[in-house]
Symmetry: C2
Subunit: 293 residues, 2 copies
């Protein structure tokens, strides 16, 4: 299978499990569940899910073993988007070209839908058909990446620094927590499903944080070089908010060069450690670097 075929195979396995998770954990007949499904099933690249399954395969497990964990990490990611879009946070009316959750369902329902997705992510993990060791490790990894040492801290730092100029170190710290920590959780959950060793986990951790950084740099660049139609969300919002980004620090071209360099080092390390087996993950990293949306 080539890269695209393998990505699609992961997506298919993921989508099947996600539909099953919706049936069990977000049953029809409730507005909050409907709102959660509206956001969860709105698509997206499912990068975190694919990373979770690919990390599991890299370490000798099967994608299926990690598919429920992949659902959990996407549920968690989705909660963070719903809450992030709320009026008291970024106050975004659109997400992936559709009205954001609170625009479609009202604030109270959106708040609860986010709470629900966060909660059910952990139920999905606890019920997953893998060993108890894997489930405990995955639950710890997800909570750690999403909480006070990860995503929530990142959100706080983002709010704190959004309207003031910051240096590169601070900017990296924000994104390491806001984006990197959950990407790391995704690969660690995949590693848990495969029973990965400590060394495997360390290697994957470095790769995940580098990938997250590249992802964010490219995001910043697309915000100044892309169109609103391409992205399915308003562009130029960073500049409007006077926000420091990698694009303002280095210029769009300088930022892309930085991303290329980080990406090359990250892929080199993974490839030296795992040889051919790392091909999918390095191709995925490459595709995130070169994406247009």
């Amino acid at each position: 299978m080539n890269y695209r075929q393998r990505y699609d195979a992961y997506l298919q396995a993921f989508n099947e499990q996600l539909a099953a998770c919706c049936d069990t954990y977000l049953p029809l007949g409730s507005q909050v569940n409907e709102a959660a499904r509206y956001s969860l099933l709105a698509g997206g690249k499912r990068v975190r899910a694919v990373l979770c399954m690919a990390a599991c395969e890299l370490l000798g497990g099967s994608a299926d073993q990690a598919a429920r964990f992949a659902c959990a990490v996407e549920m968690l990611h989705c909660y963070s988007l719903i809450h992030d879009d709320l009026p008291c946070m970024d106050n975004d009316d659109f997400r992936r070209g559709k009205p954001s959750c609170h625009k479609a369902f009202g604030e109270a329902t959106a708040l609860l839908a986010g709470d629900l997705l966060l909660t059910e992510a952990f139920e999905v993990i606890a019920d997953a058909p893998v060993s108890e060791t894997a489930r405990v490790r995955a639950s710890a990894a997800l909570a750690h990446g999403a909480g006070s040492a990860g995503m929530v801290l990142g959100q706080e730092l983002d709010l704190r620094y959004e309207c003031q100029p910051v240096g590169e170190e601070t900017l990296r710290l924000v994104h390491r927590n806001k984006t990197g920590a959950l990407i790391n959780a995704a690969v660690q959950m995949g590693a848990s499903a495969a029973g990965g060793s400590k060394d495997d986990c360390s290697l994957l951790e470095q790769f995940a944080y580098d990938l997250g950084l590249v992802f964010q740099i490219v995001d910043d660049v697309l915000d100044v070089t892309s169109t609103s139609e391409e992205l399915g969300k308003p562009i130029g919002s960073d500049a409007e908010n006077n926000k420091t980004t990698f694009a303002t620090l280095h210029g769009p071209q300088g930022a892309m060069e930085l991303a290329q360099q980080i990406n090359a080092e990250a892929c080199g390390r993974l490839s030296r450690a795992y040889g051919e087996r790392s091909e999918f993950l390095t191709a995925l990293a490459e595709s995130l670097l070169c994406r247009r949306t």
Copy 2:
């Protein structure tokens, strides 16, 4: 030890573990963590924590074994209060006689503090010093009680029915989910720590839901018979909102008689199953029935 001494011993064990949890999972230096601590350490009766530890002891475990799970359930309860107080939900300015979290820290920080407590509750469970089986069971129980088959569903039903008259069956359904499900999660987590059997879990489930119902009926009665100073929150709000409660359905006295009857049956069943070992839990039920705040 008499009832009060045993309650205080549970509280002491709980408070020690909660302080340790704050150090590890809500470290100082962050506004969001500070907001989470502000609400989490505001006190309260800690009924869910005590139930968790007492259920563990009832089934032959030690209170210490369940103390981390007790912290998790109180963290989860606290998140629900913070989000419930937000302007888009109940819009309450006070909680336990102090400004509610968003009044003290702003809406964005309060939202994140709630998200954080919910997230870290699951990290506390995943890291708890008990068997992996116990941790997986506790995590499943907490997520199940807090999610689409429990508390979040209860919140949704509460919002749906808050401004229209409902019958007794609907009222019970709302409270079963909104209050009962998390009380049940607390005792199930305690049972997990002790390695309780399926029969134990069923018995405790029925007891927990009855206890939750009694708790709610008494709440409704206090809202019409107590003073704002006694409760530390505004009273009469149910009547003001034209809300159906057990007090409006049965009158305050009729509601109390119903509560006494449910309580007597629940305690009778527990006592027949566990004899003297159930004494603490039945005394706790009695104290919730007779409480003035």
